[in-house]
């Protein structure tokens, strides 16, 4: 029994070593660069991996399997956050809305710097971070974003618009 357990642990440790960097990075950039949260979610994923590893049939690659678990955990996390913390949009913020595409084109010509982008993202509210990473890191469509966040497609579209506007505003301030 002990030998079997240690073999299982060894197999798990090898898998863990192979994928922990990617899984952690996957969460870290998608939940607003929060180290503690990224650690928690990574641990949850690897707990499932440990439990299910012996039953893994190999119908897909281990990487695909692990990232499937990670994606589900992330979607659960997004849904939970959206349910518990509804987005608040102040009147002054609504007044300041302009066309983000126009400003983004001007900025993109100079190319976005990743440090600057990260700083801006960190300053945005949680909902804006979520929608921008879903849209531009994961290439989700509006429909997929709406499903993930548990909101309507219209709400997702308008949230994305506001997120872009806020991002551009922060980026301009960061550049100064």
């Amino acid at each position: 029994m002990k030998v079997r357990d240690s073999a299982k642990e060894q197999k798990f440790t090898d898998t863990y070593e192979a994928f922990v960097d990617e899984v952690y990075g996957f969460f870290y950039v998608r939940i607003g660069f929060d180290t503690a949260l990224a650690e928690d979610l990574t641990q949850e994923v690897f707990l499932v991996v440990f439990r299910e590893l012996s039953g893994f049939k190999g119908r897909s690659s281990v990487r695909t399997w692990i990232f499937g678990i990670a994606r589900n955990k992330l979607n659960d996390f997004y849904r939970d956050r959206c349910r518990r913390k509804p987005e608040a949009c102040g009147l002054d913020e609504a007044d300041a809305l302009c066309d983000p595409e126009q400003d983004a084109c001007a900025l993109a010509e100079k190319s976005f710097e990743s440090d600057c982008v990260r700083n801006c993202l960190e300053k945005l509210t949680w909902h804006y971070q979520m929608i921008l990473t879903l849209k531009y890191l994961d290439d989700y469509s509006i429909k997929q974003i709406a499903q993930t966040a548990g909101i309507s497609a219209k709400a997702a579209e308008s949230l994305l618009f506001r997120a872009k506007t806020a991002f551009i505003r922060e980026y301009k301030m960061e550049e100064r």
Partner: protein
């Protein structure tokens, strides 16, 4: 596939290479192994949990098993004993 006409598309490209430190990795590994060992229980503990979760299923299983076993052991005497207990 990234949309090429969206000026935002390129802005988020360089985030993927964010790895944890060795200390973080070790901490997470220790936690996962410890937690898994705690969750992995022996046969008796699993049986106990199963009974707690599905008591009716356990009762029916136990009843069917004892009826089959005792009938095999004592034959009609066992059936008669039960009938006398229940007033038959």
């Amino acid at each position: 596939m990234k949309k090429t006409n969206d000026p935002f598309a390129g802005a988020f490209d360089n985030f993927e290479n964010t790895a944890p430190t060795e200390r973080q990795k070790q901490k997470m590994l220790s936690f996962v192994l410890e937690e898994s060992r705690r969750q992995e229980s022996g046969f008796l503990q699993k049986l106990g949990e199963w009974i707690a979760v599905k008591p009716w299923r356990f009762a029916f299983c136990a009843s069917a098993l004892q009826a089959a076993a005792f009938t095999l052991m004592f034959g009609t005497r066992y059936t008669n004993l039960l009938m006398s207990i229940f007033g038959g």
